[in-house]
Symmetry: C2
Subunit: 288 residues, 2 copies
Amino acid sequence: MKIIESPAELQKETSKYRDQGKKIGFVPTMGFLHEGHEQLIRQAEKQNEIVVLSIFVNPLQFGEGEDLDHYPRDEKHDREVARRLGVDIIFFPTVKSMYPSEPAIKLSVTKRTNVLCGKSRPGHFDGVVTVLAKLFHLCQPSAAYFGMKDAQQVAVVKALVDDLNFPVEIVPVPTVREKDGLAKSSRNVNLSPQEREEAPAIQKALQNGRKMIKNGEKDFQTVKTAVNTFIENNTHGKIEYIELLSYPSLEPVDRPAGKMILATAVKFEKARLIDNLVFDSKGELTIG
Amino acid sequence: MKIIESPAELQKETSKYRDQGKKIGFVPTMGFLHEGHEQLIRQAEKQNEIVVLSIFVNPLQFGEGEDLDHYPRDEKHDREVARRLGVDIIFFPTVKSMYPSEPAIKLSVTKRTNVLCGKSRPGHFDGVVTVLAKLFHLCQPSAAYFGMKDAQQVAVVKALVDDLNFPVEIVPVPTVREKDGLAKSSRNVNLSPQEREEAPAIQKALQNGRKMIKNGEKDFQTVKTAVNTFIENNTHGKIEYIELLSYPSLEPVDRPAGKMILATAVKFEKARLIDNLVFDSKGELTIG
């Protein structure tokens, strides 16, 4: 396993692989790897000859008052996970090497952002697409792997790739869950024992909503109200949003049409949990 | 020679070449090819196994009141030139295929634009970098070729590639000139016989300015005034600007330091001519 810090060195290395006709799979992360990330790496291993994992806490996607300085880091653990899973290259750049000077070129996202979690994080996705454009050029992957836990990020990255014709396939990877259905998250450890017991109700509520659509419910307000009531009746969490949108365009929908996402964010005392389901107009689950 | 209209088909074709380890040289144009373009193609041929020429009049880089609808086109002539020079692929996309829907991702250029010709074309370079980001992803070149006649465009494209780490080398190609020094341009045919006789004074004036710096002149205002006086005394054109800037950062400079550009735009009755020289702090010419 190679550990590369310099962007120029990574690009030289990936150009060499591309010249040999090798397919590169790319897993971009901010480190502190958990089972969700492991799933991304495993899928990249299956579909590519070379797997590049990047670990970079991108300051550009943190807003003011967000937790950039306290973002958890554990490089030793991350290296061990990567080695165990057979990653070929870890890319660990410094902020200075990724952003050596004030750039002349700005990327901004004008759609898919003012809903779900993006609503409360202005500028967040501008930072995400900027760093991904850079990382895609440095890693030169055929495919890049993203967890559906952050479905809005997947939708925005799809827009980046489609609008700018990147030669990269975006592969959405299903959310990894605990046995009781709770989406795995580093934040779950911040739940109290009682909250941890309640938290699977979030996924159950979304599944109930999906089943209502599957069973023919056409009034989406009724669906969202049912999801809301279920979470309220079964948890002490505070619901931040429950949204039912087209996917991946993330536009309001009021009747079954194409792919949709039903998503929620619920704030517990020390942990804010998010979850979602993506399904077709008949209510059948799809990956993303 | 392949003629490809579909962006997806071009990307499939260039991916095939990349998988074979072949180096692709890319010459992006708006068509109506002249000797300047031929020079770009020849240099691309020398340095690459495959040469892709794109011909696309990009609506995004034309402002209101600019001549998008009257931009000259001659596809038959362009195909003949490309065939004669041994181009491997001509990419002739439609506007609809390049911009199928209102994009979610916007690129903007926040430096190097508010000087030289960019000053009077707000938004022009946003359109240039957007189409080039798309074309680079579709063509997957190792190197892309641009004429130094439009030095500001070269500077902005360098910023695009540097800021976003594109795996593409930007190769500046020297301006092709008539024997008397006049920079070749499709617009030269719009000069009256007398204007045509006067026009080489533009290049002479820039060379005189450069030589003043070579000979130790430190006051750049004096240099610009001399260039101005020479053009005024030897032509009936109206000077739009004479600028002396750092290159490629295009920032004001007031003493010799690093690479510099001395550039001018002169408006004749039916033709607006531009020209420039790039040189080092000692006044020695460099390519770009």
